[in-house]
Subunit: 454 residues, 2 copies
């Protein structure tokens, strides 16, 4: 049937399965018969799962994340002080399997903590087994790209006030270092370590005082405002970084350098948003029977997801290469595979899931223009179990951000969750070479759903 | 022909007149025959006008506005020191015809300058003829709402560096007072005058020092960024106010109150944008034969426009009532007619002309949602002779803001330029009661076009 013939009369459609297709058609005046259908895999389980997902989503949507403080990592996470422990992005990973920039960051952090005198000695130490490695996610933290967290680093603290007093009352993330040579992209030279020292000795404590002075900054309204200002909080944080500075500037007035540091970094808010993401999803961990994703994270080697009803189990698969645009002088041949805990943002409906709010990002990551940005959010909406009631996207007539990835929807649609990401050079010490869109491997979701069958 | 039949085959269209309709159709794959046609009124003139408009637009699009300084009004505009002169928004207006909030602001300013001891004495003085009134526009300035400018007020200075050394090298505007009781909405009590004194004595000089220290802030890139962040720079300046603060905060660190003042005012940037608007359009004043609008301004009684080819002549008509939404406790019965020099923003393609960049504003002014915001920009695009090459609107696939109102297009289409505006209470001293959309009276444009015939 030609498209002309199809459009020659009013549409009459029988839609099988995904209801949202029918809703879209109906909204455009077509006559739609909805045929309820779902894949035959889990017929006896689906009702239980639906109820569990409602509970998980209720917890997620009830979150009241507040940026409250900056604290020394070792103080917040005592094992960091008790042993030579180094936290990294993504699921668990031993030294032997670490990619180039991850190793670079590890060695830099070892020198930064004084466990070795130089990078060569640090590498020997790391390979010797004398340093313990663990995911940030195992200790209430997240980190962008390599995501290295060690004891003396200052961590942003986000409290989920709805669940104050519960076990998962806070989440933490390092402070964004800015652009150029930075540890999150595998940088480890003197410039990188000097900046980390300044963050540790001056900026972190000053930011902590400022946050305590304003009694914390509620993040739900800030995200809601940011979505009306072109941010998706993963590859674009211009608005939220600026709004945060507006609130804090009077309390940071004693440090011109602190004002310049925040003012000079469009991505300053990224790490706040990441800690917020974990603080929102953690209360859903352990909701028995729920197929809602509570974490997506990559370590440059493996991609891992956690699912509410499967507690702290990681479902992993080899990580993929991001598709994107490269800075002048670099190409895909230079790129490291996908990396970082920042995919927590897509798990709360931001990043690529809210691309329609940030069409400028679509261009930045090589994903087209406004139309493609809207299409990305619509596609990701097929995977999400809810729409956030406060985080609204103007270009979708203020529909809510698609939040709560249902493993079943990913398995059913075979749509891989998209993730807006920075791209690191595959060698240690080079840094960021581009930005693009990565995909969560479908195998992670297939494995997770299998776990509900067993 | 039914719509179904029309859509049953490929479109073939003969388009007469407005070319943009043909362009839209062609972009969607339709075969279009464009028939050149324009109304018969000015056949022998149109070629001359086209050439003149090209020159006017070239000047407008070449503008390089830079926010450079804050200076005392009397120093910048010597007649303010030489006589009891008070500048107001809109076209010329004598005391007898002034609306309530304009009179309220005038009396407050007279007390502020010490020309009378209280408001009653100020009113007597104003009515006696001992105070001279003139439009801001006659002295290189603009002002929002009542737009009162007097000698001791600090003025933001925007220089158009492309035309440095020319007669119209700068434009100026008062500093935005924030919300609540403010002179621009007719406020005149002790709170209003105390804030003006602080702006004069502390904030203005501090801001001037900060601007000189950073050697000025180029505004084209700031506007370009703001349009990707939900601002239309008339009723929404959240992004540009925040971005401005980011740049200035390190230089204002000595004054916590200054940081709080800017940080607490989403509309702080409005007055910067207005001065910028005048600095962009002034170089087009006097381009012989050009029908491009160089100013739209309202004084609460009359609406006036100026046109490039008609020099400093005002073409006026009675001002209309804005249509909009009212704050709790107020209604259209409380509203003052349309007021302020801020319509200069629509004359440079911002405000309602860029509504598609700021769908949140559409809701704020009662003009619908995203779809209506896009429709407003498309409609205003019919009146504009150019698209700004740098100021791009993401939701229109990064098409440029529609800039340069051609009087001929307004007369031909009978589409009245829309203006996003605050709404003042009709009585002095009450303040803002809502926000809405006002229309420029078509009579102003009819009169202006008639002037080209004579």
């Amino acid at each position: 049937m030609s498209i002309e013939a199809l459009l020659g009369g009013p549409l009459r459609v029988a839609n099988i399965g995904l209801e949202s297709f029918a809703r879209d058609l109906a909204a455009n005046g077509a006559a739609v018969a909805q045929v309820d259908w779902s894949p035959p895999a889990l017929p006896h389980l689906d009702e239980t799962i639906d109820a569990a997902n409602r509970e998980a989503l209720a917890r997620i949507l009830a979150a009241e994340p507040v940026l409250t403080d900056v604290r020394r990592a070792g103080e917040l996470i005592p094992p960091l002080d008790a042993e030579k422990l180094l936290l990294h992005a993504g699921p668990p990973l031993e030294w032997a399997r670490m990619c180039g920039p991850m190793r670079g960051a590890v060695c830099g952090a070892i020198v930064f903590e004084g466990w070795a005198g130089d990078l060569a000695a640090a590498e020997k130490l790391a390979a010797s087994g004398a340093v313990n490695f663990a995911p940030n996610h195992h200790f209430g933290a997240v980190g962008p790209m390599t995501g290295i967290t060690t004891r003396s680093m200052p961590l942003l603290v986000v409290e989920n006030r709805k669940f104050a007093g519960a076990g998962n009352a806070w989440a933490a993330c390092t402070i964004n270092e800015g652009l150029g040579k930075v540890m999150r992209f595998g940088g480890n030279d003197a410039e990188v370590l000097a900046r980390l020292a300044w963050l540790r000795d001056e900026f972190g404590p000053a930011l902590g005082r400022a946050l305590r002075a304003v009694k914390g900054i509620p993040l739900n309204p800030l995200i809601a405002r940011g979505l009306t200002m072109g941010d998706e909080m993963h590859q674009r944080n211009v608005a939220c970084s600026s709004l945060l500075l507006r609130i804090l500037a009077p309390r940071l007035a004693a440090s011109v350098k602190a004002l310049e540091f925040i003012g000079g970094n469009d991505q300053f808010f990224l790490n706040v948003a990441m800690a917020m993401g974990k603080s929102i999803l953690d209360p859903a961990r352990g909701v028995a029977g729920s197929t809602i994703v509570t974490a997506m994270a990559r370590n440059g080697t493996d991609f891992g997801i956690r699912v509410a009803g499967q507690g702290d189990t990681w479902f992993t698969a080899p990580v993929e290469m991001p598709q994107g645009l490269y800075f002048p002088g670099f190409s895909a041949a230079d790129a490291n595979p996908d990396m970082g805990d920042s995919a927590i943002l897509e798990a709360i409906g931001l990043g690529a899931f809210s691309m329609a709010a940030a069409p400028a990002v679509a261009g930045f990551v090589g994903a087209g223009g406004f139309r493609e940005a809207v299409a990305t959010t619509r596609a990701m909406g097929e995977l999400a179990a809810a729409r956030h009631p406060q985080w609204q996207i103007p270009a979708l007539e203020f529909a809510g951000a698609p939040i709560g990835i249902d493993v079943r929807r990913v398995v059913e649609t075979r749509i891989a969750p998209a993730i807006n990401t920075g791209i690191a050079h595959k060698r240690a010490g080079v840094g960021q070479v581009g930005a693009g869109v990565a995909r969560a491997p479908l195998a992670c979701f297939d494995k997770a759903l299998d776990a509900f069958r067993s």
